[in-house]
């Protein structure tokens, strides 16, 4: 490490590291580990680039940004004397920044698709568990141990949110992760709305112990907005909703995810007859070799290389889907809107599916069910409604003081088809149902 290192970032401008600062030396050394460098090869938004060509930024850039966001938050809280009772602030701060940097280490290639393929193959280990595995790996563990924060850093991932004041920076409604990905994803997609006034947001943000149970018996640390922060809290909500509707759950992006998932599942079903792919990390992983040495090699390129191989062969469905992926011939979406009461009649949907099966029309149900991902937390309205504002010394939920969150969320059932012809047939079938 030189006396001073800098990384240029489109959101935070210069992210600096000084050799004279202990915490910066640790952070810089962590960035140099192979586990961390792997994140250069995993896109933050997966297939969103099929809709927003600029959205090719990596998880590497996001985690650097999350760390910088955590730094900014800690600086503000320090200035506001929020850490007066903290015993060893330099160590706590170092561990918090390390956790911000390491929080996404365990993501697999094209995260959502990979986890869906894992689920289809009966593998239940989550990316959070791989994050812990990476933290326990030799090179990362050594850096953290040398800096005296190995156990403290691990604690962020092995105990639940809300335990400590620093925990709120890493995992809460307004944590460094969410704030960075909202700003970064907006920048790279080119979405013009959904801006967040970060300076004002930080200035309005406090950390307090608030009741979390019905009786007020249990209190945990949470971010609370000062009254002057009401507008910026609303801005955050709008940004979240906007990004959710226009980016994270864009119907084209979900279509590509289903197409690639189908291709990968078909390849895994038939790999034993295809010696060309048996030795590839992706196949080895699903064949049972699930050690960290293999997992480390699973990046977006490990899937794209499979796509190229499949496209050049005569492997039936895999080849067809691989070619379609390369040429953006996506699955086609048919949306069934909810009724005025907000429901979709199950009988009609069941009849629809049955008719599709009878006519041999392949389809994929897509019931927005990805709640385990933070980007999709907006599907849970309570998440946004429960952002706290302190008005006249009382905690109020944003949902009760802002008119933004009064209406029910619009719901929709999406069904994907292989091509336009199938979708047209499906539309006719649906129109004929009572």
């Amino acid at each position: 490490m030189k006396d001073e290192e800098r990384i240029r970032c489109p959101i935070h401008d210069l992210i600096g590291f000084k050799r004279s600062r202990d915490e910066d030396v640790l952070l810089w050394n962590l960035i140099q580990t192979s586990s961390f460098q792997r994140l250069r090869r995993i896109k933050q938004l997966g297939f969103s680039e099929f809709v927003y060509p600029g959205a090719t930024h990596s998880r590497f850039s996001h985690v650097l940004g999350a760390m910088q966001m955590a730094r900014r938050m800690l600086d503000v809280f320090e200035k506001n004397q929020a850490f007066e009772d903290v015993e060893n602030l330099p160590i706590e701060r170092k561990a918090t920044l390390a956790a911000a940097l390491l929080h996404d280490l365990g993501h697999g290639p094209y995260s959502h698709v990979f986890e869906e393929v894992c689920s289809a193959r009966g593998l239940k280990k989550k990316h959070e568990e791989y994050t812990l595995d990476f933290i326990n790996s030799d090179d990362v563990q050594k850096e953290l141990t040398d800096a005296g924060v190995f156990e403290k850093t691990k604690r962020f991932f092995s105990s639940e949110p809300g335990y400590s004041v620093f925990n709120a920076v890493i995992s809460s409604q307004m944590d460094c992760d969410r704030l960075d990905f909202l700003c970064r994803d907006r920048h790279h997609t080119g979405v013009r709305s959904a801006a967040i006034d970060l300076a004002w947001l930080f200035d309005s943000l406090r950390i307090e112990k608030v009741p979390v149970d019905d009786g007020g018996q249990v209190r945990e640390y949470s971010f609370v907005f000062a009254e002057k922060g009401m507008a910026v809290a609303e801005e955050f909500v709008i940004a979240y909703m906007k990004m959710y509707h226009t980016v994270y759950f864009h119907k084209t992006t979900r279509g590509v995810q289903h197409l690639v998932k189908d291709m990968l599942v078909d390849l895994l079903d038939n790999y034993s007859d295809r010696p060309e792919i048996k030795g590839l990390p992706f196949i080895k992983f699903f064949a049972g070799d699930q050690g960290l040495d293999v997992y480390e090699k699973l990046d977006d390129n490990s899937i794209v290389s499979l796509v190229h191989l499949a496209a050049d062969k005569e492997w039936g469905l895999s080849t067809d889907l691989a070619k379609r992926f390369l040429n953006r011939k996506n699955y086609k979406c048919f949306e069934i809107q909810s009724t005025p009461t907000g429901n979709i009649p199950r009988n009609k949907l069941d009849q629809f599916r049955e008719a599709l099966r009878e006519q041999n029309v392949y389809f994929v149900d897509d019931f927005l069910s990805q709640r385990t991902y933070k980007q999709h937390a907006v599907t849970d309205s309570g998440f946004l409604k429960n952002i706290l504002i302190k008005i006249d010394g009382e905690y109020e939920s944003l949902g009760s003081v802002s008119s933004l969150l009064k209406g029910p969320a619009q719901r929709v059932a999406r069904i994907y088809f292989r091509d336009d012809e199938d979708r047209s047939k499906a539309k006719d079938i649906f129109a004929g149902l009572h």
Partner: protein, 243 residues
């Protein structure tokens, strides 16, 4: 390793296997059903071995996640549950106390969690079979999802009598007490002794593990008949003392 059991669901098979290998140093990881047979995965130190295949001997229909959620709502007073977390915990306890289903739970932020139950709840709400509303409750004035059966008379599959009794007992406890109780139970099922399960829960959930909450959680497990591990530990301790 051969296990003979009348169990007919993955959860029950796992439970039967768990009891069969108790104190042997083996740990039952999971049970999986394939073509009518069950495979039980056993951990011996860190090596996973395929241990045994055996057939279910009882006929019966397994509830899917949707039927489980409907049956849990059917079992509670007013057919209403306040909060997603509470619905998850009651569903977990329904499975633990004998509901015939292959729904799996893993340890998540707020204790045992099943993506299948979460997805089923979404779908039932989308189809209008349960009513989902936001409402503010308690001192925290937090918004909670309130889930209610839309047609209480139309629930096709019901929980067994023993499960209904357990759910009735557990429904008297607060959501945080259920969260702690279900986490202790989860750790016990992972092979920890009762005392070690409580310690692991305190470690994982430091701010919620107040002594009175732990006490209430243990009380809930005892009253619901879900503390067999503690009873087994006590028997084992008394035997050791005699020796």
């Amino acid at each position: 390793l051969k296990i003979f059991t009348a169990a007919r669901t993955c959860t029950q098979v796992r439970a039967a296997a768990f009891h069969s290998v108790a104190y042997s140093g083996l740990y039952i990881e999971r049970a999986k059903k394939l073509n009518g047979s069950f495979t039980v995965f056993v951990l011996c130190s860190t090596v996973r071995i395929k241990a045994s295949r055996y057939k279910s001997t009882m006929e019966g229909t397994e509830m899917n996640a949707e039927a489980l959620v409907l049956a849990v709502l059917d079992a509670v007073p007013g057919h209403e549950v306040r909060g997603k977390k509470r619905l998850q915990k009651l569903s977990y306890f329904a499975v633990e106390s004998g509901a015939n289903t292959d729904v799996d739970f893993f340890l998540h932020d707020f204790g045992p969690f099943s993506p299948d139950v979460a997805r089923a709840t979404d779908l039932l709400s989308l189809f209008g079979e349960i009513i989902e509303e936001d409402a503010q409750y308690g001192q925290a004035k937090k918004y909670l999802k309130v889930f209610r059966l839309a047609n209480p008379g139309a629930v096709a599959e019901r929980l067994p009598q023993q499960t209904l009794k357990s759910i009735a007992v557990l429904n008297d406890y607060s959501t945080i007490e259920l969260e702690i109780a279900s986490t202790i139970r989860f750790f016990m099922r992972e092979g920890l002794s009762a005392a070690a399960a409580v310690s692991a829960t305190k470690e994982l959930k430091p701010s919620k593990s107040e002594p009175n909450i732990i006490r209430r959680a243990e009380d809930a497990l005892a009253k619901a008949g879900l503390d067999e591990r503690r009873r087994a530990d006590q028997v084992s301790d008394s035997r050791s003392n005699r020796i």
